[in-house]
């Protein structure tokens, strides 16, 4: 291993003894358990795996949206300094048609994943899981994809059928696993 002594004017390189040959691999990774990874292991898959316990409704999401999201996305999700979240034109209007939850997003799980992972932009990963479910429900209901009273949780969210679910083709099918 090479270590750099930052206190010296001239960097000192020290070669320390290495027990393993390269062919066997340095084997310097430390074992890591699922418990160690709770804060990082945040990916939600389209089948819903990774979704946490908890639930929320559109009515619960509305005040959270007004407080934490409307600043950038507009009071009614119509867009502002950040993307429009409601409505949207048919994709046949042009290749530069604005992509929205209603006209483009294929999976509702992606909406939960992005909201929990990255929002609010200035304070990501500060929402509770219930708040993320509630915001997801609010945005899906605003877009008439679910009913106002529908409860979003780990079993209902993956079942939501997004309007553009089947609107995609792989560019290079031979490269798809």
């Amino acid at each position: 291993m090479f270590t750099l002594n930052r206190k010296r004017a001239v960097p000192l390189m020290a070669i320390l003894a290495s027990g393993a040959t390269l062919a066997q691999g340095p084997n310097l990774g430390e074992p890591v358990s699922p418990e160690d990874l709770v804060a990082w292991d945040i990916t939600i898959m389209p089948d819903g795996s990774g979704l946490p316990p908890g639930s929320g409704t559109a009515a619960q999401g509305e005040p959270i949206f007004a407080e934490k999201c409307a600043w950038c996305h507009g009071a009614n999700g119509e867009g502002g300094t950040s993307a429009r979240l409601v409505g949207g034109e048919p994709l046949t209007n042009g290749i530069d048609t604005a992509k929205t939850i209603a006209n483009f997003w294929p999976y509702a799980t992606t909406l939960f994943d992005l909201t929990r992972r990255a929002m609010p932009w200035q304070q990501p990963r500060t929402l509770t899981d219930d708040e993320v479910y509630a915001l997801t429900a609010y945005l899906l209901a605003l877009n008439d994809i679910i009913d106002e009273g529908d409860v979003m949780n780990a079993s209902t969210l993956p079942e939501v059928q997004m309007p553009n679910r089947d609107g995609f083709i792989p560019r290079f099918p031979e490269r798809m696993p």
Binding site: S18, L28, T43, S82, Y107, L114, P124, F168, I169, F172
Partner: protein
Amino acid sequence: MVMRRGEGVMQTKDTVLNWDDLQPVAENGLLDRRAFFKGGAAFAAAMTGYTLGDSTAAQQLVDAPWSRGAGNLVTAYGTPSRYEAEVSRALSNPEGLPRTQHGRTPHHLLNGTFTPNGLHFVISHSGNPDIDPDQHRLVIHGLVQRPLSFTLDALMRYPMVSRMTFLECGGNSAPLFSPEPIDTTAQLIHGLVSCAEWTGVMLSTLLEETGLDPGAKWFVAEGSDSMAPHRSVPIAKALDDTMIALYQNGERLRPDNGYPMRLLLPGWEGNMNVKWLRRIELTDSPAMGYYEARTYAPILPDGKAYRFYFLQEVKSFITHPSPSLNLSGAGLYEISGVAYSGNGRVSKVMVSADGGQTWAKAALQEPVQPKAFTRFRVPWRWDGGPAVLQSRAWDEAGNVQPTRAELIARRGQASRVPTNPLRVLSQHYNGPTSWGIESNGEVRNVYA
């Protein structure tokens, strides 16, 4: 200086080059690329500079002030001459508003094939994190036999590899989807591609230690910036040429290119090359994250959209001349630019001076490396009349840049000219770029 036909005879070590020997090989003044090999350095020295003025009036040479005293101190980390201050990235969001920031490479002010680190293009979705390298960890988990966490010090002990690779945002060149040409520069059109030498540990080396479960078909890479962006990559790429890059052009990665480590997928869509990499999860299917399910999925004319484009296809563009590098009078010029392909080496570049009607083969600067910038050059005698310059590249896999008409027929074009030229209209434009030369020497983006 401007050399005109029949004006001079250039003596070099190996050969004598007479301007009269320069053979036109295509219309509107394109000359045989082999003039470079015959004439060598003397030929290059005789080329007209794009920004030079009238050089016919010789001046008496004097000792300049900088030649008559001790110079400035050597600094611990060098910076460019103060006369080069305009050689800088173009920023899309200099105020740091809560949205993505882009910094675009000034291709028209650079040459060769390496992009200096401070000018390499950058896209940061939530700013550059200030990562303490001693606390950073790279975790590999999911469908593996032994989930492992690596420190930077640990990775530094693994066998390393260096390679030249271009990196290109899927949205690079998007202004060319506009239905009318946008009057802007090569920097703003093509500034989201750069090329560097990257050094790091192959992901396959680390996967040998974690082991793979048979069901592992993808890996999902995730960054440690506040947005924690993630992208799904087929396992075949992991076992091919995916690198955990630690160095860029010989020095540690800069913060805006992923310090202390980033994913490097040579030839693949820039956004997939996750910066500030902290987690790789092996999975049986793609995560359908925001960037793959929504953003990097270009809409097609029939309303469907491509998903998992992966590749940056063969492309080229002329950097010299290009808008803002105007011609300073009729005479001999070198046309040059960059070509690259995510499929391997560039095999051929053709250049036209008449809007694509006739073509001359360009000289390719050696070494031509796979998935890296290749500089191409061709001599051109501008007669002072209108001209439209274009380049077109082929790669070793047999792919060729489509014409703009072919590409638009397949991919469509934007419904209207954007009010902001930086708006990303669609992605993966790899058609040609046309530079129109006006008789006053001005260069403009045109369609031909």
